[in-house]
Amino acid sequence: MTSIPLDQDINREFDNSFDRIEGETPLVTGDASLHRITETICGVAEARRAPKTWYVALAISLSLVGLLGVMVLYELFTGVGLWGNNNTVGWGFPIINFVFWVGIAHAGTMISAILLVFRQKWRTGINRFAEATTVFAVACAGLFPAIHVGRPWQAYWLIPYPNIMGDWPNFFSPLLWDACAVGTYATVSGLFWHTGMIPDLAAFRDRSTSRIRHTIYGILCLGWRGSARHWHIYERANMLLAVLCTGLVLGVSSTVSTDFAVGQIPGWHEAIFPPYFTAGALFSGFCTVLGLAIPARYLFGLKDFITKRHIDNLAKIALLFSSIMLYIYVIEFFIAYYSGSGYEQLPYLNRLFGPYWWLGWGILFFNGVFPQVFWFQWARTNPWICVAIGIFCNLGMWMERFVIIIISLHRDFLPSSWHMFFPTWVDFCTLAGSFGLFFTLFLLFCRFLPMVAMSEVKAVVPQGIPSHQGDHAGGAAPQLEGH
């Protein structure tokens, strides 16, 4: 671990996006004393007033949440006929949005869990962020199947439970799989998020000046006191949760994709779907974190924790998944051609030359071609390009779900049942409302919870790592025992 050279101009941002020859590149730039880490992260939540931008953003997001509430109530009192769904396209916007939000959720788990399992220390700056993204995106995702079933007040019928109505669960039904996968995902990501936050919530408790804050954070942190014996169990618990969540990342999108793959619809009935959906989910998730982390690091002054190296690494992973997506798109077209089946080829021809041709080409460019700019380092370190690609990719991934669902459904085996899908204004308002829900939760998180995992960052800065001297001194201790 090296610290920053002293002659470095303090106001200039330190570029740690490449490995230095003269020593290890620091994970946290600037003055990385333990107290300063606490000051910076807690300072965001303790400031009497948030930045003006925060209030503006919250006002916009909250109005969108209001819109969502109105749309959901309107739908509940009127019926699903308000949406563009029709007899041919039974899965319209709700399922598109559901798959889209589940996908966004995945990056959080990926960054937290998989990078923890592989002991990637650079994740400490962004994992809390990413986990928050997961929890909020799952909340948005869960909303859509719930309203899509038509009678959400009976959504608990999805869960097999003993009842006196003669309801008998069908364990072969993908609807049950969804309930299991999404329910598990929401519960698990919430628990993982909270467990990871316990030491930082304790830091908030210990710094709080008002009684209310002290009580709330005190209860949330379970009375954590940083005991070494607790840390031992805590670290093991976190690692176990990470391993389980890693399985979940691969499992949830695979389950969601199986909902499609078990249906005998051309364009859905494919063995490639589980890895395809998982890669797509991770891709959109990484792009979301990229798009959110950059504005947040400027807005809340977290440049030393979410460094250029983080942005650079995120961009590289986005590039990897973009390339996987491009490969899968090509393979899908090839397999459709190679199958020799006219039914199988039709949706793929429709994707490029049908009535929704612009969406078909859009996903190729937004997801496959544009992110290739990340091959160049100047693009990976340019915040504007990173945010732009982050937004484009999410747009592209939303379009991809539209393409998979709508294009396969709107023209199936019987031309007499072909029907175009036109979303209504209620569809669009509900989608916009779900974004409002996501951003409201995210903004509240930025203001009231530890945005960066302080305890994890402290363990990787020079002050937190025992020196070799300490090891020698420690090694000398048994001699003390002797005399």
Partner: protein, 190 residues
């Protein structure tokens, strides 16, 4: 030795409510040295409190590996068992229903349910196990009465020896902690 020592008697009469002694150390290295010495001296009721997990401290303190992984495994296997056996009982034995000519029970069809339940139960048992093994939530602790202890979540590195320890004596333990380079020493009242 315990009964005859004068210091113990003094402690028992003068400070009956003493919880223990809390020493602060300036850096990770000195905390590790101190912890190693305290362990070597034969103390059993003592602990370190740090704002982050200090690498190597659990080895120095000779903390036994936790049984938590076994709890997780047990929970996870219970989940799989439920995910596979519940459909068998419900659809295979209790009331066989024919869905599109499919078998009443099949392993592949149950994987999408059994797998999430594997994770869900594994996570539940990990979180509950963590909570039980640590004795949390515990919203009050004598250490919280010490003002300095607030820095245990910021940048303070503390070593606490409890009065309940059989080897504890106010003067001797205080001297030991001071000789190990403590920058601050507090008496923690219960």
């Amino acid at each position: 030795m315990y009964m005859s020592e004068n210091a113990i008697v003094v402690q028992n009469t003068e400070a009956p409510e003493l919880f223990g002694l809390m020493a602060e150390y300036p850096n990770v290295d000195s905390l590790l040295v101190a912890a190693r010495r305290v362990q070597a001296e034969g103390y059993t009721c003592w602990d370190c409190h740090t704002p982050f997990p200090v690498h190597g401290l659990d080895k120095v303190m000779k903390i036994k590996p936790t049984i938590l992984p076994w709890l997780s495994l047990g929970g996870a296997l219970t989940g799989v068992f439920i995910g596979l056996v519940l459909p068998l009982l419900v659809n295979g034995i209790a009331y066989p229903l024919n869905f599109s000519g499919k078998p009443y029970w099949g392993l592949p069809a149950n994987v999408p349910v059994a797998f999430p339940l594997f994770i869900l139960f594994g996570v539940f048992s990990t979180v509950v196990g963590f909570s039980l093994l640590c004795g949390l939530p515990k919203l009050y602790h004598p250490l919280f009465t010490v003002k300095r202890f607030k820095r245990a979540t910021d940048d303070g590195l503390f070593l606490v020896i409890e009065a309940a320890d059989p080897r504890f004596d106010v003067i001797g333990t205080r001297q030991l902690l001071e000789s190990l380079g403590a920058v601050a020493l507090d008496e923690v009242k219960d």
